[in-house]
C-alpha cells in the first residue's frame, strides 16, 4: 500500500496498464503537459496531443478502439463532451448491437466533472445521468484514490465503452488550474478522505457496477457518489445526534447501477435519500426510485440534487450543489415523517 493523491492514483493505474499493454494510448488536449509523467515515459505515440476538436478525436477514438487500440480519450471537462456527443450516442454505444455482437468498442473516455470552486454553469456539470442514459455505456464516478485507480483499471480492461469521471474537487491539479488555488487567497471545501489515501501497487481493480457500503445503519439509506458521498458522511454526526443511524452507500458506478445493493439496503431501512450532484430530472435519482418500485418496495423517498443551471456566484453555487445542511435537513425530515 502506498499513499497517493486522487490524481496520482489514476496516473498510476494508467501507467500500470500502459506498461502491460502496448495498445493502451492516451489522446487529448494538452496531454503532453497534463499527463507529462506518462508522456516522458511512453512518448508522443502513446500520449498524443490533439487539437481542440473533440468531435474528431472522440470519434477517432471509437474507430481506433474498433481497429485494435485501447484508447483513453480525454475530454478535458465533461461539459465539453456536448460538441462530440455523436461519437458516444450513435457510434460507440451502437457498434456491439449493430454488428450482431461481433464487434465492440473498448474505449475509455476520461473527463473531469463537478463543481464547488466557482467556475460557472458550463464547466462544473456532472452529466453522468445523461451519459448513463445511453444503453451500452458504463459510467463510473470514484470518490477516493483506491477506487479511482481500481475503476480505471477495470475501465481499461472492459471491452465496451466506459466513461470515467474525475471530480475536480478531488483532483488537486484541476483545482489548481481551474479554481486558481495557487493564489492562496481562495479556499475550497475539499473532502480530505477523497483526495488522498492508500492505494495498492499495482492497484486492485474495482468491478464496474459494484457499490460499497461506507457506513452501516438501519434507519435510512443514503445513496450517493463522488464528492457528494463525502458531504453525506459529514452529515452523519448531526443525524446521529438526533438518534438517526443512516446507512451510506457509495454507488461508484452510475451505469450499470448496483441494483441488488440498492434494493437490499432500501428493504432494510424503508427510507431512501439520494444525494446526487447531477441534475435532478431524468437522471440517477429518478432511476433509483424506479429500481425500488420495480422491486416492489414501498419506501419513503427524497433526493438532494442540483436543480438548475449551476450559478457562478460562490454563495449561490454552494446552495445549488448538495451540501451538508441540505442533506441533514432532508434526512431529518424523512426520519420525522
Amino acid at each position: 500500500m502506498t499513499r497517493m493523491t486522487f490524481a496520482s492514483a489514476i496516473d498510476h493505474a494508467l501507467e500500470t496498464a500502459m506498461e502491460r499493454d502496448n495498445r493502451v494510448v492516451v489522446l487529448g488536449e494538452d496531454v503532453t503537459m497534463l499527463r507529462r509523467n506518462l508522456y516522458v515515459r511512453f512518448g508522443p505515440k502513446r500520449v498524443r496531443q490533439t487539437p481542440i476538436s473533440e468531435a474528431a478525436f472522440l470519434g477517432a477514438g471509437v474507430g481506433a478502439a474498433m481497429a485494435g487500440l485501447r484508447p483513453v480519450v480525454e475530454i478535458m471537462l465533461v461539459d465539453f463532451i456536448a460538441v462530440a456527443y455523436d461519437a458516444l450516442l450513435n457510434e460507440a454505444t451502437k457498434v456491439r448491437a449493430f454488428s450482431g455482437g461481433k464487434w465492440s468498442v473498448p474505449l475509455v473516455v476520461r473527463a473531469a466533472c463537478g463543481g464547488g470552486y466557482g467556475d460557472g454553469g458550463q464547466h462544473e456539470q456532472c452529466l453522468w445521468g445523461m451519459l448513463a442514459g445511453m444503453p451500452g455505456l458504463s459510467v463510473v464516478v470514484p470518490s477516493n484514490p483506491a477506487d479511482a485507480a481500481g475503476l480505471m483499471l477495470s475501465a481499461l480492461a472492459c471491452d465496451d465503452p466506459v466513461v470515467f469521471l474525475e471530480h475536480k474537487l478531488l483532483s488537486d491539479y484541476w483545482l489548481d488550474y481551474l479554481g486558481g488555488a495557487s493564489r492562496g487567497t481562495v479556499s475550497f471545501d475539499v473532502p480530505a478522505e477523497g483526495t488522498e489515501g492508500e492505494v495498492e501497487k499495482p492497484p486492485r481493480p474495482v468491478p464496474i457496477g459494484e457499490g460499497r457500503v461506507v457506513a452501516q445503519g438501519s434507519d435510512l439509506s443514503i445513496f450517493s457518489l463522488g464528492v457528494s458521498l463525502h458531504r453525506c458522511l459529514e452529515a452523519l454526526p448531526s443525524l446521529a445526534d438526533k438518534g438517526i443511524r443512516a446507512e451510506v452507500i457509495d454507488l461508484r458506478s452510475v451505469a450499470p447501477l448496483d441494483r441488488d445493493l440498492i434494493v437490499d439496503s432500501a428493504r432494510k431501512t424503508g427510507r431512501v435519500l439520494v444525494v446526487d450532484e447531477d441534475f435532478i430530472g431524468f437522471g440517477l435519482s429518478g432511476e433509483i426510485a424506479a429500481v425500488m418500485a420495480e422491486a416492489g418496495l414501498k419506501v419513503d423517498f427524497a433526493r438532494v440534487c442540483t436543480e438548475g443551471v449551476i450559478p457562478f456566484a460562490r454563495r449561490l453555487e454552494d446552495e445549488a450543489l448538495p451540501n451538508v445542511r441540505r442533506i441533514a435537513e432532508a434526512a431529518l425530515a424523512m426520519a420525522s415523517r
Binding site: S8, E15, E29, D30, T32, M33, R36, N37, L38, Y39, V40, R41, G43, P44, Q49, T50, P51, I52, S53, E54, A55, A56, D79, F80, A82, V83, Y117, G118, D119, G120, G121, Q122, H123, D176, Y177, L178, G179, G180, A181, S182, R183, T185, V186, V309, P311, F312, A313, R314, R315, L316
Partner: protein, 342 residues
Amino acid sequence: MMKPDIERLYRQMARMRFFEEAQADLWDRGLIPGEMHLGIGEEAVVAGVLDHLEEGDALALDHRSTPPLVARGVDLASMLLEVMGEEEGLCRGMGGHMHLFSREHLAGSSGIVGSSAPLGAGFALAAQCLSPGAVAFSFFGDGAANQGLVLESLNLASAWKLPQVFVCKDNRWAITTRTRSVTGGCLARRAASFGMPAYRVDGTQVEKVWVAAGKAVRRARAGRGPSFILASCPRMEGHFLGDPLLRVYREPLKQTVEIGPPLARAMLSKPLAALIQRCGYLGNIGRTIATLGGERYLLAIDPLRRGAKLLSEEARARIESEAKSEVAEAVSRAMERRGRND
C-alpha cells in the same frame, strides 16, 4: 481612403487594458472565483474591429469576453460585480466571467471553445431577416479554429451570405499546446476556401486591424456575405491567471520541486534502455515551456506600446489617465456595492 481615429482607438485599448488589470488584481485578492482568462494582448484586435460597430450590431464572444464588452460600452462596474458573483452584477451573479450576456447590447459569450462562431451566425441570420445592414461579430482564438462547429459556421455563413465577421485572435496557443503542432495548413487559406475574403493582419497594429475590419464590415453591411480576419497577437498572461506554464518562470524553484520528482521517477522507470528516448520527450516539454517563456518575456510586442507610438506623448498620457480614472471609479463603485452586501 478613410483614416482611423487613432486617439479613439487608443482610448478603447487603454480602457480594456486597465479593466483587465483591475480584474487581475481582484482575482489575485481572491474576490473573483474560478478561472480568469484575460484579454491582455488582444486590445488592438478588439479595438480595431469594434471601431466599426454600429448600434444594432451583435457580438458573439468567447472566454475572453471582457475587452469587447468594455469597448461596446457595457457598464464597467456591473461587469466587475458580475465577475465577483454579486447580485447587482450584469447577470445577477449567475453567469460569471466566461458567460457574460448583455441583451441591450446584443452581446453573448460562451466558455465552450468555438461556440461563438455558430452563435454569431445566428445573430447574423436574424440581422439579415430583421435589420438588414446590421452585422454580427464572432471572436474566437486560433485554438477554436480547429473546432468542427467553427468550420461548419464558416460554410453556413458563406452559403447563406450572412453579414458576419469572423475574428480569429491568433496567439499561437491552444491552451498549453502550440497550435501549429495540431493544425494542418493555414487558417486564412482555410477560411478563404469557404469562399470569403480572409485578411491576415498584425494584430498588434491597431490601424492595420482597423483597415481590414473596415473592408469586412462594409462587405457585410452591403449584404455581400461574411469575411474572416486572422489577427496575430500575443498572449501575455498565459491561458488563464495562474497558468502553470508561466508559473515555471514566476516561481521556478517551487515548480521544480513540485513537478520534478514524479517526472524523474517516470524517466527512470524500467526499461532503462529507453532513457535516451525519454530525454527527447522531456526535451519536448522543455521546449514548449521555453517557447512560451520566450514569446512572453522576450518577443511579446505590447499592442498598447505600439499604439502609443502613433500618438503624441501628451495625447497618450491624457488618454491613459482618463481611462485609468474611469476604471478606478468603476472599481470603487463596484467595491462599495459589494461592501454593502457583506
